[in-house]
Every structure is written in C-alpha cells, then in structure tokens.
C-alpha cells in the first residue's frame, strides 16, 4: 500500500474509535459534563492528562525544536515536565479536596470575590483560545500534507470530530477518548523512534541509543554530531548559546505555567479521592515522560539523518519527501553560489580556502518529526502512523481546552455570576452550546490563523504562570492571604508579563534582542519574573489590608485535610 492509503486507513480507523467511545460515554449531568462524575480511575486519568497535555506542539514540534537548538532545547524538556512535580506537591490534592468544577471556582470562593472570579475566567478563556488555535492549525497541516486535502477541509473534519465527542460526552467523553488517543500517539511516536535507534546505533531503546556509538563509524553519535556541527559552522549540539539566566527563567516560566494551565488543573478534579489526585499526577508524568525522554533521542537521530542527507548533495537528486515539503513552503532552497549542491551551514561557516559560505537551505523545524520517517526511509505504514499520532495529539488537547472554555462560559459566568438560579438541565444545555461555539471559533482561528500563533504560545504560558499559580498556591498555603492581595497580585503579574511580551513581540519586534532584555531574560522567560512579582505583591498587600473572613480561613483548613473529599463536591457543586 502507498503512504497515502496507509495514512487514510490508519487515520480513519482511529477516528472511528474516537466516535465509538464518544457514543458509549455520553454525559447525563453537569457533574459528568464538567468533571466526568469524579469517577475516573487514577491510571486512566493519568493517561487522559498526558494526552490532554501533549499537544500538536509536543508531538509535532518539540523534537524538531530540540533538534535545531541542541542543549538549549532542554528548556522545553525540563520545563514541560517539571511543572508536574509542582502540581502533585502543591496543587492537585488540595484542589481535588476543594471539589469544585473549575479553576475560577476556587479563586472566586477562596477569595470571596466575584471580581477575582471574573479576572480568573478572563485569564482562563484567553489562555485556552490561544492554545486551541495552535491545535487546529496542527490538524490542518497534517491533513494537507499527508492526506493531500485542502487545509480548510482538514480543519473542518477535525472540528467535526471534536464537536461530536466534546459536545456529546463533555469531560466524560473527552476523558475516555483521550485514553485511546494517548495509546495512538505514544505508539506512533515510539515506533519510528525505535526504528531509527535500531538503524543508527543497533540499540532498540531510543533513550539509550542516542548516547551510544554509531553503528557505521563506531564513534559516539553525540560526538559525531558535535563534529558535524563544528565543520558546518553551527554551535556544538551539546552546548547552548542562550545565557544561563535566560535558560533558568524560561525553564521556570514553563514549569510554573504548566502547573497553572486550567485545562491541566481541571483534570485532577475528575478522580474520586485526594490520594487518587496525587497518584494520578504521578501516572500522568510517567506517560508524558515516555514521549519526553524519547524526543531528545529523535532530535539527535533526525539531525544526523538530515545533515547526512542534504550536506553538499546535488539538489536535483533530493528524495521525494524533500520536494513534497517544498510544495508546502516549509522547506526552501536557494542556490546562492550556483553549484547545484546544497550548502546547509551555520553562521560561522567557512570553506577550505577560509572564505565564508552562505546557507542555502531553510527548513521549518516543525516538519522534523513528520518528515523523519521518510528521511530515514521507514516503511509506509510508519509514515501513516505518525500522521494518525499527530492528529490524536492535536485533537485530544483541543477537546480538553474546549471543555475549559465551555465550563468558563456556562459555569463560571452564567451559573455563578449572571443566572445563579439556572436549572441543572439548563446549565447542561448551556455547556453544550458554549462548547459548540468554542469549536467554531477555534476552527475559524485554525483556518485563518493570526500570524502570531507561535508568538502567543509564550503568552499563554507566561500568563498562566503569572496569574493563576501564585494565587492558588497562596490560597492553600497561607490563611492570611486575602481578596485584596489576590486581585492586586494577579493584576500586577499579568500586566507586567503581558506588557513585556506585547512590547517585544508586537510593538517593537526589532528590539527583541538580548541586549535590550531585562537582565538578559527573553519574552519566553518573563513569566518567571511575573510570577515572582505576583507573589510579592499579593503577600505585601495582604499584610496591610484586613485578614480574610473566618469562612475563607475554615475553607483553607478543610482543603488541607484529605478526609471528606467524597462529600465535598456536594457542598460547592
């Protein structure tokens, strides 16, 4: 079978599976719609969280980014996993004990304030829309490249599938579909990684293989890659070029941002008990780590294969994948010296005579994972599998985000703010309608992406870090923190972070250089500073304003003890 036939078959089968699960797990109450009736097994919730968390960015882009950045790519590997330790130790068990449906629920109740609730809702909506647009875009790319369908039709098909199971099943449907999607995506990620590791090093475990010796030459793969990089004028693969402080700040911002993302936090409301919430974060990280420890290996294999395939080779003899990606505009070649060969080199490259060499090849780093199986000439079914895996990653994350959006509108705004007397059935209908509307907006953004999708991802993390994380932590660990402190902390954190990112990304992108940054911290890392400012402002303001009322203090005491989580949601639900 051809690549196209394999892709169509595997994608079709996986979609049929998701729809089947959606029909089997329809939601009948708001509790089932928002938090799957709080009856999800911690292992299943761990898998669902992993699929929810690992987006098109993790599946499609991350190994490519690491492949191009080398050591500097570690910020994503550590940043997007380390946040789970914070979640397990500082957030998940207490939020589960609190027992509400959404993050703004906690903020509003703990700080006895509708203003705090509304600020939290706005942050949740903004973060989730930013994120969901990127997912729909990923769906479109996979469809257009592998199934040779128009990007618009691709996004429309993806929307249809998500619409079906998110609107029908709510969190319950999403959770069990995500379990299936996790299986599809991890299989699709691991199979090519094992193939590549076997081909290049003879070791079937990629996590070990990329530290091993190359089969052909007998030198260590990393040494060979560093050597190639030096020859071609790139920085050594295992060293970075970013400043240490910037690496620290970006890693911290990503970690804290992960722990503050509403679609991740909400997953830990779905398990039956506090101890399940703790355990379930552990399982989630195990499932995430399977992909995140394979990614740097894939990055090294991809980099080596790419350099071997293109360096000083005739352009006319490039394989089929090269020309196919060229038509999507994600690879481009310009023959500056007119020799018909491809010079793919870094900024400091010189030839034997000592004169500088110009780079002639531009490769979008997002295509590395998708192109990898073809670059390495793996069997057709593996290529199809990768497409199905990329779709699973994008759809599962999109669904999780849509649920946060629908809950923010129907629960936090409608039920808790505008129409507290709405009936259970009325709220369920509102939740379905808002999920449906959110799908349409997300699809529109996927087809007509604002040019800055990649830029706003930094925004989503920075904002999640600088808004939610400090007020949730302080709400649990400090009884003294009051309404005034929380609101002023959130506002200062968001304003600072947003202003810094907007200035360097949109207002004055030309100035986005290390010498203009505060302390050399890039816009990607500013969330770490925003978080610190939020903490500081919240604590200082609380100290000079009246302490929280006794109910809020009793709430803190209640969420600190695990016993009683089973009844808790009856009170606040």
């Amino acid at each position: 079978m051809t690549v196209l036939q394999w892709t169509a078959t595997l994608v079709g089968l996986s979609f049929a599976l998701y729809i089947g699960i959606a029909i089997w797990s329809r939601a009948h109450s708001t509790s089932e719609f928002y938090v799957a009736g709080k009856g999800v097994h911690p292992l299943a919730n761990g898998m669902a969280t992993a699929a929810d968390w690992m987006s098109a960015a993790s599946f499609i882009s991350m190994a490519g980014i690491v492949s191009f950045l080398g050591y500097d790519g570690s910020v994503y590997l550590m940043g997007w996993t380390g946040g789970y330790v914070l979640l397990a130790l500082l957030l998940a068990p207490y939020l589960r004990k609190f027992g509400a449906f959404t993050v703004p629920d906690f903020v509003g109740d703990r700080y006895y304030s509708q203003t705090a609730r509304v600020v939290a809702v706005i942050c949740a909506i903004f973060v989730s829309f930013t994120y969901v647009a990127g997912q729909m875009r990923g769906v479109g790319i996979v469809f257009s490249r592998f199934l040779e369908i128009d990007i618009t039709l691709g996004v429309a098909i993806g929307m249809g599938i998500v619409f079906f199971y998110a609107v029908l099943g709510g969190m319950k449907g999403i959770t069990y579909t995500q379990v299936a999607q996790y299986c599809v995506l991890i299989f699709a990620y691991t199979v090519p990684a094992i193939f590549l590791s076997m081909m290049i090093t003879g070791i079937p475990i990629p996590q070990i293989g990329f530290g091993a010796a190359e089969r052909e030459t007998g030198t260590f793969l990393l040494d060979r890659l560093n050597g190639l990089h030096e020859e071609l004028g790139f920085a050594a693969y295992t060293d970075g070029t970013k400043s240490t402080l910037d690496v620290l700040a970006i890693t911290a911002a990503l970690m804290v941002g992960t722990a503050g993302l509403p679609h991740v936090i909400i997953r830990f409301y779905t398990v039956p008990r506090v101890r399940d919430a703790r355990l379930s974060v552990g399982w989630a990280l195990v499932f995430i780590a399977l992909l995140y420890t394979a990614a740097p290996a894939v990055a090294v294999f991809a980099r080596t294969n790419l350099l071997n395939t293109v360096t000083d080779q005739p352009y006319a003899e490039m394989p089929e994948w090269f020309t196919k990606w060229e038509t999507t505009g994600l690879i481009s070649y310009e023959d500056h010296n007119g020799d018909g060969l491809i010079q793919y080199v870094g900024a400091d490259a010189v030839n034997q005579a000592g004169t500088p060499v110009r780079n002639e090849l531009t490769i979008d780093r997002d295509i590395m994972v998708l192109a990898n199986p073809e670059i390495a000439r793996l069997p057709n079914w593996v290529v199809g599998l990768v497409a199905a895996g990329g779709l699973a990653a994008a759809l599962s994350t999109a669904a999780g985000l849509l649920l946060v959006l629908s809950a923010a509108i129907s629960h936090d705004l409608l039920k808790r703010n505008w129409r507290p007397d709405i009936s259970e059935q009325g709220e369920l209908i509102a939740a379905r309608v808002s999920a449906g509307l959110a799908v349409l907006v997300a699809g529109y953004l996927g087809i007509n992406p604002p040019g800055f999708v990649a830029e706003v991802v930094a925004f989503a993390f920075g904002l999640a870090a600088a808004s939610f994380f400090p007020v949730i932590i302080l709400g649990i660990f400090s009884k003294r923190l009051n309404r005034e402190g929380a609101i002023s902390g959130m506002l200062c954190g968001i304003t600072l972070t947003a202003a810094y990112i907007v200035y360097f990304k949109f207002v004055n992108p030309a100035a986005n250089l290390a010498e203009n940054w505060w302390f050399g911290i890039s816009p990607e890392g500013i969330g770490a500073i925003g978080t610190a400012v939020n903490f500081a402002v919240a604590i200082v303001v609380s100290r000079y304003t009246p302490p929280p009322p006794p109910e809020a203090q009793r709430l803190v005491e209640r969420i600190r003890l695990p016993r009683g989580a089973g009844e808790a949601h009856e009170i606040s639900g």
């Binding site: 009736g37 709080k38 009856g39 690491v66 050591y71 790519g73 570690s74 590997l77 550590m78 996993t81 380390g82 789970y84 330790v85 397990a88 130790l89 500082l90 068990p93 996590q207 070990i208 530290g211 091993a212 010796a213 260590f220 793969l221 990393l222 040494d223 295992t238 060293d239 240490t244 690496v247 620290l248 890693t251 911290a252 970690m255 039956p272 008990r273 506090v274 101890r275 703790r278 355990l279 974060v281 552990g282 990280l285 195990v286 780590a289 995140y292 420890t293 740097p296 005491e557 600190r560 003890l561 695990p562 016993r563 009683g564 989580a565 089973g566 009844e567």
Partner: protein
C-alpha cells in the same frame, strides 16, 4: 478527641507535610536548575561511562525527567503513610462515585 487536640494534631500533620514538600522540592530544583542548567557546564566534563553523554547534557535532557517521576511517587507514598498515621485518610467515601 476534643476540638483543641484535633487542631493541634492537624497542625502537626500540616508541618510534616510542609517538611516533605520542602525536601522534595529541593531535590527537584537541584536536579533541574542545578545539574541541568547552573552546573551543567561543569558536569559536562564528566561522561557517563560507556556512553557519549556529557553528564550535564544528560541531566538536562533525560535525568531531570526521571528524577521528577520518582519524586512524585515518593511523595504519594509518604503522604499516604502520613494520612493514616494522623487518621485523616479517606475511608471508602466517594471511592465508588
């Protein structure tokens, strides 16, 4: 048990919890910000024997993640034991919800 004794107990439970969290988060920071970033260059002079991994690079791209996983499971174990010791663990309430 009267209310005051219960409060004292809960305070002791909370202090132990904070101690566990403090120790585990120190290890978390040492493995990632320490070994993976600040001391990475120094550790890169050491190689993991039999492999091509410079130690700092390995921590940043592999080791830190393994440490994170272990930390969470250690925390789960410690907290379950602590919950039982202070009799604040969940009985089978809600387990079948």
């Amino acid at each position: 048990m009267n209310q005051r004794a219960a409060d004292r107990d809960h305070l002791a439970y909370w202090r132990r919890n904070l101690r566990y969290v403090g120790v585990l988060l120190s290890i978390w920071a040492l493995a990632s910000y320490g070994a993976g970033i600040v001391f990475a260059d120094a550790l890169d002079t050491i190689r993991i024997p039999g492999t091509g991994f410079p130690l700092g690079f390995w921590f940043a791209q592999q080791g830190a993640i393994y440490v994170f996983v272990v930390l969470i499971f250690v925390y789960v174990f410690l907290m379950n034991r602590l919950d039982r010791e202070f009799d604040v663990d969940e009985r089978d309430e809600g387990g079948a919800a």
